[in-house]
Symmetry: C2
Subunit: 322 residues, 2 copies
């Protein structure tokens, strides 16, 4: 079975794994990124750790068809670099593909946006398997997206397609990191839900949320869920608003892509049915009936390994094209 | 050269043409739809007129590879029907593909959403020629869209993808025909610009627009342009707002698709540079720099024949797949 050596670069962790062409993981590991120390040291350490894994598994670079790398965008795919990613300062212009290719016997290496890689991973091996049109949405620090259209990953003109967290919800809302007001992710990401909760508490709204969080600046969506379990009114109100924002964005995604399935991952999905049941209803309300009727909204299937497995799916796709 | 017999169904006109595989038109015509009299009479009359055109051109059904039909959505592509289109009452369930196929010697017939067909037409033969990722936007009564992703038309799960006019701009704006508040098209379509103009005039704002329109209910974007040419302050203000709304939506389109080019058609583009120059600037402001840097925004290349030529492009694509 063909194998890919896959990497998942993040601002905190740099994960890697040996992935079979059926999506199964033969082995994996991770190192700290220490992003602010620059790319060379992180790439050296991850390559060293991956070489140890290969030795443990009795594999050599020649046993692989390709190297796949998932990374936060924006990317310069042609040069194999990140290009101005806020969580990877000083990395712009360093060719991660070249470094890792050189470290592993000249294997062909490709880099893809991590959410796009996740979309292809979920399409090939996860919750989107068997469907042709799959949109992946992650709701966590921000909202990220990726889209597989009729069985092919949508990369766009320069590999940066599917910035779905920046679909507008308002013209004059809170400022987004992208510089615009009112993007979807400033209302409905995990960070945004926590921020809106803190704002409501700071405005003096009574609630048990603070009891769980300890102090205002510690509040996360986790404490919101704890308070909801007690029937806290403010927590329920903020959650209902969040569902409405999530549904408005997902409704737009349905109208834009007419997908067979939207796969939703990220920390907020830990809420399970408390999220998915009302969110499906809200999304359907904001989409054309003929489009929402054919679109399922389901939890991600690949869990924490989505980055590594997605990177492998991208590299396998490239290897198939040859 | 392969030929397609192409039809472009609208609520008012039912156009048809003989299209070569290079996109050139050998001949064309149109009949009135009289949509409220139902589909059978309209399809009979258009088939009769198309048969006359074929006779004039010395062609028979056997000289064609396929029939292509562009129609307002939503569609039931499998059955070849419109399915609940507001401007075609009573048409739901009538198989236009079957009728026209039977009328022309059993030629294979396919139906596509008119904006999707236009996107493929502009990609193959128009302003998107030579680019791989092409989004088509029409700004007229509403805002419609279509997307060609890496050289292939995005149809979605059931042929209804790219309802781009329903990207949200606000959560609480004017009601859209789709049932939601604040969609892009309720702010920035030709109809919406005229409505916002009438609202401002009805609120008593002084302006020369009324002089050109005659009465409030006659106001269109055309009168807005006439007043702008005189330096009318209200007209300039409404136009600037419209550009801002158009830019916000186009910025979202850039962030969603990372296209090489956005081709803009529809009545509002009659404004020419007065539209395109500020609209490009506004769109760039609302999109990621790395994505807007590679995306041109250009006027449509196919003009009034975009429906017929687009329908032909869709049918040719299907014929190639065989």
């Amino acid at each position: 079975m063909r194998k890919v050596l896959a990497f998942d670069l993040g601002g905190t962790k740099f994960a890697f794994g040996v992935v079979n062409e059926d999506g199964s993981l033969l082995g994996s590991g991770r190192v700290e990124t220490f992003a602010d120390k620059g790319p060379a040291q992180a790439c050296e350490r991850v390559a060293e750790a991956a070489h140890r894994l290969l030795a443990e598994l009795g594999l050599r670079p020649v046993d692989f068809v390709a190297i796949g790398i998932a990374s936060p965008g924006p990317l310069d795919m042609a040069r194999g670099c990140v290009d101005g990613s806020p969580n990877l300062p000083g990395w712009t212009g360093f060719s991660i593909t070249e470094f890792l290719s050189n470290s592993f016997g000249g294997l062909p290496a490709r880099i893809d946006n991590d959410c796009n890689a996740a979309a292809l991973g979920e399409y090939r091996f996860g919750a989107g398997k068997g469907r042709k049109n799959v949109v992946y949405i992650t709701v966590s620090t921000g909202i990220g997206g990726g889209a597989v259209i009729d069985g092919r990953l949508m990369r766009g003109a320069n590999g940066n397609a599917a910035e779905l967290g920046h679909i507008p919800l308002t013209m004059d809302g809170p400022s987004c990191g992208c510089g615009n007001p009112g993007c979807w992710e400033v209302y409905a990401s995990g960070t945004a839900i926590a921020r809106r909760t803190r704002e409501a508490l700071a405005a003096g709204r009574p609630s048990s949320i603070l009891k769980f969080a300890g102090s205002l600046d510690q509040v996360t969506t986790h404490h919101l869920f704890q308070a909801m379990a007690e029937g806290d009114a403010l927590a329920n109100e903020i959650w209902a608003e969040s569902i409405n924002y999530l549904g408005r964005g997902l409704g737009a995604v349905i109208n834009i892509f007419n997908p067979d399935v939207i796969v939703v991952g990220g920390g907020v999905t830990a809420a399970g049915d408390a999220l998915f049941v009302p969110m499906r209803k809200s999304a359907a309300q904001y989409a054309f009936p003929r489009l929402s009727a054919v679109c399922s909204i389901v939890p991600a299937g690949l869990g924490g390994e989505v980055g590594v497995v997605g990177a492998a799916a991208c590299a396998l796709e490239g290897a198939q094209e040859k």
